[in-house]
């Protein structure tokens, strides 16, 4: 079937005639929706960070009123001292906002939307209007989530995992409406995610440009594609469970409430059957974009492209078989613990493949340490720590001691902040010129990276030591316990580091906002990269490509001997008479 000129070319040329509301608010352009997701999730990242600062203050300086805490109402912090119920709400909302409204939309919503059509050579998503609805479902979900803070009883306070029966009955937490809003918001956000995932999968399967075979897809797209499958299959389980829990709270059902014959552990099984794939939803896209950036920075093809793809698929598959490792101490049959320990341990294998292949990519490279590369290498360095600390909890006997301690908190933050968030910084700084047509300030970017890297480690590394000391998670006042009093100094150190870490992000915010208006104009291809998105103007016009590109090369043909005039080879570049060689062979 011959590919003829696309009829939408002319139609899309007249985008300037679209009214403001269609162009920027209810836009169906995947790039605009990507930017909308970016702004929304950065806002939630900030709110989630603010919650973390209040939590840290309480843990570091429980006897000193929170600076500025006088602004909070009496129901949260009378005299600047946080109430325990407000502390529980903060812990819950910090986790929820970061997982569901910051990291997940930043990776899946922003880069899924922005990158998939551009990188596969499509004019837009398969269902642009559905895409718009996906965003405009996420926004009310976020508003509902935050509104919990303003209702009587406060925001949800049963942890982001909302274990039943604590979360099933307001009598146990003192939070009635807030807990219900939490569940409504999660169910609504689930709908948004499922719509998005349906769109991504259809787009990647159907709309790849001619020549864009599966094994010429950039790893970022592979990762987003596999992630979309995980979202599609995992989120509905959470939605189903959340609705059941909502019914327990509102219409008197007893799914998870043992007083009526329900099963508390059923909630945990459902939650973690969703929850562990969710963990990979939060890290796989990060692995994908980091692979792109490291290849670009190293000016080398990704080491072992095929095994990188199989590792992504392997991690996604194993993710369905390990949920029980969150429940070793839950009263689940200990024999099951053995099975889940083995499957969990096996995840180390594809993870190790990825780490060593990233190192292999840097090996004998010609590494340009641009800001995205700094973040991408930090991702690898930090993800390794998060991966290795996971081995402790995977070992069932060691988990007896570490379960529900700060060791877990350190682990999740090395993966989610050290991993996902560094990947997000790498991705934002890398694709910022394509999104906004301007470059971010590199000097400011370097300072921001350095401070973030240092303060991140000062904040989260000592949390391992807290965990080794037996410090429980989610406790309001560690000094209540004799065995935790020696750790008070560590807690203070962490709090100060966390405040510095949070403050350092001002540099990023300034760079982000100022560069949008005042940054140097970006060329088509400022990073000298191979992806199709770099062959079109920055920012790309509506419809992306003036003519459907034909893909001739793999995504990472850096420093190819076939090219004499540069050390990169755009995927659609025709090397004249020379026959195109497929990558990875």
């Amino acid at each position: 079937m011959a590919t003829t000129a696309m009829p939408h070319d002319t139609a899309h040329g007249e985008t300037h005639e679209l009214p403001f509301i269609r162009k920027y608010i209810f836009s169906t352009d995947h790039k605009t929706i990507g930017v909308q997701f970016l702004l929304m999730s950065l806002l939630f990242l900030f709110v989630g960070g603010l919650a973390a600062m209040m939590i840290r203050w309480q843990l570091g300086f429980p006897d000193t009123p929170l600076p500025g805490g006088a602004l909070l109402p009496e129901t949260m912090a009378p005299g600047g001292f946080l109430l325990p119920e407000f502390f529980n709400s903060l812990v819950t909302m910090h986790g929820t906002l970061m997982v569901f409204f910051a990291i997940m939309p930043l990776l899946v919503g922003v880069f899924g939307n922005f990158l998939i059509p551009l990188k596969i050579g499509a004019p837009d998503m398969a269902f642009p209007r559905l895409n718009m609805w996906s965003f405009w479902t996420a926004v009310p979900a976020g508003i509902i989530m935050l509104s919990g803070f303003f209702v009587e009883g406060g925001a949800a306070g049963a942890g982001w995992t909302s274990y039943a029966p604590l979360a099933a009955n307001g009598e146990y937490t003192g939070v009635y409406l807030g807990q219900q809003l939490w569940l409504l918001s999660i169910a609504l956000l689930g709908l948004s995610s499922i719509l998005g995932a349906t769109n991504y999968i259809t787009t990647v399967v159907n709309l790849r440009a001619p020549g864009m075979t599966w094994f010429r897809l950039p790893l970022s797209i592979w990762a987003l594609f596999i992630t979309a499958i995980l979202v599609l299959l995992a989120i509905p389980i959470l939605s189903g469970a959340a609705i059941m829990l909502f019914f327990d709270q509102t219409i008197g059902t007893h799914f998870f409430d043992p007083t009526g014959g329900g099963q508390p552990l059923l909630w945990q099984h459902l939650f973690w059957y969703f929850g562990h794939p969710e963990v990979y939803i939060l890290i796989l896209p990060g692995m994908g974009v980091v692979s792109d950036v490291i290849a670009n920075g190293s000016r080398k093809p990704v080491f072992g492209y095929h095994s990188m793809v199989y590792a992504i698929i392997g991690i996604a598959f194993l993710g369905w078989l390990v949920w029980g490792h969150h429940m070793f101490q839950s009263g689940m049959n200990p024999a099951l613990g053995m099975t889940f320990m083995v499957s969990t341990m096996l995840i180390a294998v594809p993870s190790a493949i990825k780490v060593f292949n990233w190192m292999g990519t840097m090996w004998r490279g010609n590494i340009r340490f641009h800001v995205p590369m700094l973040h991408a290498v930090s991702f690898v360095a930090m993800f390794v720590i998060g991966g290795l600390s996971g081995v402790f909890m995977a070992s069932t006997p060691v988990d007896i001691y570490f379960h529900d301690t700060y060791f877990i908190v350190a682990h999740i933050h090395y993966v989610l902040f050290g991993g996902s968030l560094f990947a997000i910084f790498a991705a934002i700084t890398f694709w910022y010129p394509k999104m906004f047509g301007r470059l971010m300030n590199p000097a400011l970017g370097r300072v921001h990276w350095f401070l973030t890297f240092v303060f991140f480690n000062m904040t989260f590394w000592p949390m391992h030591n807290l965990g080794v000391g037996g410090h429980m998670r989610r406790i309001y006042d560690p000094n209540q316990y004799a065995f935790l009093q020696p750790l008070a100094g560590t807690n203070r150190f962490i709090t100060i580091s966390a405040l510095l870490l949070f403050t350092s992000q001002i540099l990023f915010a300034v760079n982000f906002v100022v560069s949008w208006f005042k940054g140097a104009k970006a060329s088509h291809n400022p990073w000298e990269d191979n992806g199709l998105e770099w062959t079109v103007p920055s920012p790309p016009p509506h419809g992306n490509f003036s003519a459907t590109p034909t893909v001739l090369h793999g995504p990472y043909e850096f420093s190819s001997p076939l090219v004499q005039d540069a050390d990169f080879l755009p995927q659609s570049r025709n090397l004249d008479a020379l026959p195109a060689r497929p990558a990875g062979e």
Binding site: P84, N88, V91, G157, A158, Y163, P165, L166, Y172, P258, G262, P264, L265, K300, P301, V302, F303, G304, Y305, H306, S307, Q329, G331, P334, M341, V342, M345, A348, V349, A352, M359, M362, W363, R364, G365, N366, I367, V384, L388, V391, F392, S395, T396, V398, I400, Y401, D404, P462, G469, G470, M472, I475, Y476, D477, Q480, F558, S560, D567, A583, G584
Partner: protein
């Protein structure tokens, strides 16, 4: 900021701690290798004018090696962990001469029911004390856990004991203390507003002191 676990005071603490230290060493080596490699590559292969990166798509042998080594290592750790796990957590791991207790958790207290002089639960001489667990040294004890309202987690750091107490479900944990003295009990699972205050104490007595203590408690309870 220590990487050494606090002093362990139960019989299996040493087994658990040993696995922890093995993992600490193994992951420590992996950590140093990877981080040092990253720094080394970052310096050695930094961009310099006139250089061009090597053009390679990978190396099958290297990839097989770095797939196999982690696989073998983690499976070895898994096998090592399995035995300890079974002896600590499975019903069959409970020593036959274990002394029985029932701990009923509720917001925000641990109610300890003692078997009394006759040594068996659910008899007339049982007595219950709030937030105090008294056990004899060098004698296995099994704690039958129940929860009245929400999930709590019975955590004795010094004994390497942790087990959720789930409403509607019977769980258990056993341990054998090796030292006399007082140790902290904490709740490790978020259980509501007073979660942080849900502490208790376990007192380990010498064998003869323990018998005396039980007798005195049984009398005071009977007098009540």
């Amino acid at each position: 900021m220590s990487w050494f676990l606090p002093h362990g005071a139960s019989t299996y603490a040493a087994d658990i701690d040993f696995i922890y230290y093995v993992i600490l060493v193994v992951t420590g080596i992996a950590f140093v290798v990877v981080e040092a490699g990253l720094v080394w590559f970052a310096i050695k292969y930094r961009a310099r004018p006139g250089r061009k990166a090597a053009y390679t798509h990978g190396n099958m042998r290297a990839e097989v090696i770095w797939t196999a080594v982690p696989a073998v290592t983690v499976i070895a750790i898994g096998l090592m962990s399995g035995g300890v796990w079974r002896s600590v957590k499975s019903e069959s791991g409970i020593p036959a001469n274990a002394l029985s207790y029932r701990v009923t958790a509720k917001q925000f207290e641990w109610n300890v029911t003692y078997a009394g002089p006759d040594g068996s639960l659910d008899t007339a001489d049982d007595f219950t004390i709030r937030n105090q667990l008294h056990v004899p040294v060098y004698r296995p004890v099994v704690v039958r856990l129940r929860a009245e309202d929400v999930i709590h987690s019975f955590f004795i750091p010094a004994f390497r004991v942790k087990q959720d107490a789930v409403p509607g479900l019977n769980t258990h944990v056993w341990f054998e203390a090796m030292e006399t003295g007082e140790f902290d009990i904490a709740c490790a699972e978020l259980c509501g507003i007073g979660h942080t205050t849900m502490g208790a104490t376990v007192t380990v007595h010498a064998a003869e002191d323990f018998d005396r203590w039980v007798a005195s408690q049984a009398t005071t309870t009977a007098l009540r």
